[in-house]
Symmetry: C2
Subunit: 252 residues, 2 copies
């Protein structure tokens, strides 16, 4: 069976999903709905571009990959009856589609940037649907994409999204701080890459509590003081002090 | 040539170095100096255990893998003349050995836990020595261990160590926060592993500034507010607010 999929959106998540569905032979990318043709014209191959939501025709799945803010208004405008309509948001409840017949959530738990490809086969797809039939259908479909399909409730998804902010967005910012300090003091950031990889690799084997190392864990005040003196940005000092305090609290 | 290496210390770094040198055929682990025999007896194979620093005999290299606090006093007690004496500290200057003839630094830029093996062949070894002859010798020796040997000054090493706190110790604490929240709300932390791996993987291709995603980058106040309401620990809220503010500042 070839699933017909349409997508609303022109952001990073929409881009990666369009790329996914146009290249996977289990799927036909049917329509892409985006206000500006120019934004998506390079992505959509043979799929039909439509500007308005009321131009969408029935398909097996309609994925609404728009911002959380835009989602409720767009949900209201969708008039399809037989199509399973899902969104990709980590934070919005499934009930945003409450007025529909067939609806759910298709949340890829991943970080999306335009210039970096995504391996969807290893990306957890967190799914939810308004009835067992739709859930089974969505699960079959998701299994054609990823080996990591999970039934996740709206509340669990909210928690996963919160965790994702800590383990992805905030972690990336710490990498950014490391890169900025390296650049400022002219030491090569590449020297830190094996450490960065090992830090990630380690938690496959050890609980992060067991994996913790460093001056804050040891309560090494003189090293922490020396580090604070090397930092000249107040916000950076606050980040250093706050996380060090939290690490220390876990040890006591 | 087989290098004779002796080690002072019984902590995590000493453990991993002992394991390294006893298993690499380019080296003979000669003596291990540690106050308590019981602590190191299981690690040292055919190497000789000595309790006192004055029992150490000449070797090609003596590695002092002790805490920063203990290092100055131990440096004073070492009476060897021909042996190149190095320490493994990220923060202590090479000059802690100023009274010696042959000295330097051998700083493996890595995170060490007892229960996790280290691949030294991929671990940057940051070396420094008191003269070009000793530096060349230390470089030859280090090249037998790792493909990532780097000449790093005492000041550069201090910066790398500071960066390491951000990209390793603090990152691990964020993993710990993610794991704790998952456990508390009964969602499987494994679902976050592909995201964690991709976050690390991404910065091989993109500068961390380009790789940044999430509500703070987008200035999505309502998601950030909802996240803060899910957190009940004040320190955790402070970490969330401070890093979000720093991410947002970078975007403006």
């Amino acid at each position: 069976m070839i699933y017909q999929v349409s997508i609303i959106g022109s952001g990073q998540v929409a881009f990666h999903l369009i790329t996914l569905f146009k290249n996977n032979k289990n799927f036909e990318l049917k329509q892409v709905c985006a206000r500006q043709f120019e934004k998506v014209s390079g992505w959509i191959n043979h799929a039909q571009w439509v500007a308005d939501i009321n131009q969408l025709s029935e398909a097996d799945l309609l994925i609404v990959a728009v911002s959380d803010q835009a989602l409720p208004a767009i949900a209201e405008q969708i008039l399809l009856k037989n199509t399973l309509v899902v969104h990709t948001s980590g934070t919005q409840p499934m009930s945003v589609f409450g007025q529909h017949l067939n609806f759910g959530v298709f949340y890829p738990l991943q970080t999306f940037s335009m210039s970096k490809d995504i391996d969807f086969s290893q990306t957890p797809l967190c799914i939810e649907a308004n009835n067992p039939h739709n859930l089974a259908f969505l699960e079959d479909l998701a299994n054609k994409i990823s080996s990591k399909v999970a039934h996740v409730s709206s509340h669990q998804r909210k928690i996963l999204h919160l965790c994702a902010v800590f383990v992805c967005n905030f972690v990336n910012h710490l990498y950014h701080i490391g890169a900025s300090l390296s650049e400022k003091h002219q030491v090569p950031f590449e020297l830190l890459m094996p450490l960065i990889e090992e830090t990630t690799n380690k938690i496959k084997y050890l609980h992060p509590k067991e994996a913790q190392t460093g001056p804050a864990k040891r309560g090494d005040e003189s090293t922490m003081q020396a580090h604070l003196e090397l930092l000249d940005d107040e916000l950076l000092k606050t980040i250093y002090k706050t996380i060090s305090l939290a690490i220390r609290k876990n040890e006591l």
